[in-house]
């Protein structure tokens, strides 16, 4: 029971992160119908920029943790958001009307490019950062020494994720920008005729996705303290699985999918086999695509001539 609770907490934390990344996939897919293969790399860049900001803050002699956190977060969001914008502008916008696979191949190329770019500049070795925030709340203490605890970082991750989710949902439901996004999703030509700046709307969608992935990267760096140039690949695949599981194109679906994937991974690692936890996630991806390609909240797609 205690073990179960601990796995539940860990799984929810992990799931929150996957959910945040999954939103980027789902929003981009919703609006231009492509799988942004380079999204995992955006998350990786977010994590790297966080580490670099912290190191640089440390070198300049800053010692106030709160200021450091704020500086790192802002730098990460700005830089990673700009990466999202640039990638869309350079690699995807020219392919707006090209066949679907052309854009997918372009995004695979972008992903390979970014991975090797970071590897060349920052080295292939894993970077370990000292935890910035430690401590937590012990929920349960057993006689044999097994404790169930929630660290402050885990609480922050969950609270921040919920806040961001609410924010994004409100933006899409209530604001002019959200209305433009929904319009582009339905019919880009018609939206353009009615005065929506389609290019700008799509660019902003990419930036929102990138910023959420950057925050996910920031939180993961705070939580685990380990980054490497390859981390985006697996996380991206899992987040994509989450987006598909929830129904690609659906915002609440992405979040729910993320939580489910996080829980499955955590429980699989805890009860079945830690080595095969990634295999389990990929297996779920295939099962979902085969049995229920529209996911939990997705709309069925109609093949048009």
């Amino acid at each position: 029971m205690d073990y179960l609770l601990q796995q539940l907490i860990n799984g929810l934390t992990l799931g929150a992160v996957y959910g945040l990344i999954a939103i980027g996939y789902t929003m981009v897919f919703g609006i231009i119908g492509m799988i942004n293969f380079a999204h995992g790399e955006i998350y990786m860049i977010g994590a790297f920029v966080t580490v670099i900001s912290f190191v640089v803050c440390g070198l300049t002699g800053m010692d106030n943790v709160a200021v450091m956190l704020a500086v790192a977060l802002i730098v990460t969001i700005v830089v990673t958001g700009l990466y999202g914008w640039t990638i869309e502008r350079v690699a995807y916008r020219p392919l707006r009307n090209a066949p679907r696979l052309a854009a997918l191949i372009s995004s695979i190329g972008m992903s390979v490019l970014l991975q090797n770019y970071v590897q060349l500049l920052q080295g292939a070795r894993v970077k370990t950062m000292q935890p910035v925030m430690q401590g937590g709340v012990t929920l349960m203490d057993r006689a044999d020494g097994f404790t169930v605890s929630v660290s402050y970082m885990q609480i922050i991750i969950m609270v921040l994720t919920v806040a961001l989710m609410t924010g994004v949902t409100l933006v899409i439901r209530r604001t002019t920008l959200g209305r433009a996004q929904r319009a582009c999703e339905q019919d880009k030509v018609m939206a353009a005729l009615l005065g929506v700046n389609v290019d700008r709307t799509i660019a902003i969608t990419f930036v929102i996705g990138a910023v959420l992935a950057a925050i996910a990267g920031f939180m993961v760096t705070m939580y685990y303290g380990v980054v490497d140039f390859f981390m985006g690949f697996l996380a991206g695949m899992k987040a994509f699985t989450a987006a598909v599981l929830g129904g690609i194109g659906s915002l609440p679906g992405a979040m729910l999918g993320g939580l489910l994937i996080g829980l499955i991974e955590s429980f699989w690692a805890g009860y079945v086999s830690a080595q095969y936890k990634d295999v389990a996630v990929f297996g779920i991806l295939m099962l979902v695509l085969m049995l229920r390609p529209n996911g939990l909240f997705g709309r069925p797609e109609i093949e048009k001539v």
Binding site: I45, F48, V55, A91, R100, L101, I108, L121, Y276
Partner: protein, 426 residues
């Protein structure tokens, strides 16, 4: 002018923000945790380059009146120069000869390569590697080029072929030639089993699922320690023999040795030459096979399916069956390639079968123009051969691949030597 300057300044600013953290500060492990090393000169170089480059592009643009026109001019030029080599050009009688001339010259050149005075062991090693990739790319070309299915997990079948041979040799004591067809069959069988459920999926979902296959295969190879040796891999994979003759300095009692039988002095490069001819034969066979396949009804069905699935379904083409054959055939080619790889290396580990391998082969096909056999050869020489000869650039190779994939897609979504013309015309 002012507007152009503004534009270039903005581009330079963006480049600066993008590169400042990642390029400007390199994180290094030290005794007291992470610290950073400054490289602000690089950032400055990038910013200046982007600024000047953007100005130059804008100035050029004004002359060419629009980015599109400049691109179309350059790409038309590339197309024209590529067309000379194109195997597809059949309307002009004049060029009919070149259609067979270039492949014939290339085949002759590869056949004679080991006899050339300059062919050192190193040259042959590079040759073997290039030929392996050509063969693999021709195999993947069946799925990606002909049938239009983006397979991102091709490396899984390569790995299955390699491990099949290593395990067959270890447990069933099979030689290379006996195991080779079996490896192809095993890979094809796995392809059928995996393809069976997922081939119904839409293009990009299919791509992601195959990527999942590739990763699952690698993870299983790493974790199934008792069978695959885990991360340490399998060593002592037997080398191929020529009619039972071994290529070694000395063998067990009664074992025929190549240099003994032919009365030659022992030379390790004999084995390399032998391996070279094996892979040359395999590659040519695969190339010829896929070239002929394309003219069969099946090959035409692949192409038709690639161009328009809905129309195919309406005309009564069994989509699922047509895709499955393409997928399984490509898988079997990868299986054969994997068996050769294992036999050549004598040692295999999961590290050789990462996604980057799939991406490399995919990059070859994309650069070569999806569907074009000659394009694949030229692209392999370009992608595998060049970096092999310039080892210093090794680290920039994958970077260039990624960039190349993006640029080719933007520029000529059909590939540099596009062969997207239908084989038959009404």
């Amino acid at each position: 002018m002012i507007a152009r300057l503004k534009d270039a300044l903005l581009a330079a600013l963006i480049a600066g923000v993008l590169t400042l953290p990642l390029m400007g500060a390199r994180t290094i492990e030290s005794a007291h945790g992470l610290t950073a090393e400054w490289h602000l000169d690089r950032v400055l170089a990038v910013v200046v380059t982007v600024f000047l480059g953007r100005l130059a592009v804008l100035a050029l643009l004004r002359r060419a009146r629009g980015l599109g026109r400049m691109f179309s001019q350059i790409s038309a030029w590339v197309a024209r120069s590529a067309k000379v080599f194109s195997v597809q050009r059949r309307k002009k009688r004049r060029l009919l000869k070149t259609r067979f001339a270039l492949p014939a010259i290339l085949i002759l050149a590869t056949l004679l390569l080991p006899l050339m005075p300059f062919s050192s062991r190193y040259v042959l090693d590079v040759g073997i590697m290039v030929l392996t990739y050509i063969m693999l790319a021709w195999g993947l070309n069946i799925t990606v080029g002909y049938a239009g299915l983006l397979d991102l997990g091709y490396v899984a079948f390569y790995a299955i072929g390699a491990y099949s041979y290593a395990l067959l040799a270890q447990y069933a004591d099979m030689g290379f030639w006996a195991a080779l067809p079996l490896c192809g069959l095993i890979a094809a069988a796995v392809g059928v089993v995996l393809g069976f459920p997922v081939l119904r999926l839409r293009g990009d979902y299919f791509a992601i699922v195959t990527l999942g296959f590739g990763e699952i295969t690698r993870l299983i190879l790493i974790n199934w320690t008792t069978l695959t040796g885990g991360p340490n891999g399998l060593s002592g994979v037997p080398r191929p023999r020529l009619f039972g003759m071994e290529f070694a300095r000395s063998g067990e009692e009664g074992q025929a040795l190549f240099h003994d039988v032919f009365g030659l002095a022992f030379d390790p490069s004999q084995r390399v030459v032998f391996l070279y001819y094996i892979i040359l034969g395999m590659a040519l066979l695969v190339g010829w096979f896929s070239w002929r396949l394309r003219r069969l009804p099946l090959g035409r069905a692949w192409e038709a399916l690639r161009e328009d699935e809905v129309a195919c379904a309406a005309l009564g083409v069994n989509r699922w069956w047509v895709k499955l054959t393409a997928y399984a055939l490509a898988a079997s080619v990868a299986g054969l390639g994997g068996a050769f790889f294992a036999a050549r290396q004598g040692f295999i580990s999961p590290e050789s079968f990462t996604f980057m391998e799939s991406a490399t082969i995919l990059a070859i096909i994309i650069l070569g123009g999806m569907g074009s056999l000659m394009g694949v050869v030229l692209a392999t020489l370009f992608i595998i051969g060049l970096p092999e000869l310039f080892r210093d650039l090794e680290q920039f190779r994958m970077l260039a691949f990624g960039l190349g994939m993006v640029l080719v897609m933007i520029w000529r979504p059909g590939g540099l030597m596009s062969a997207r013309e239908p084989t038959v015309r009404l």
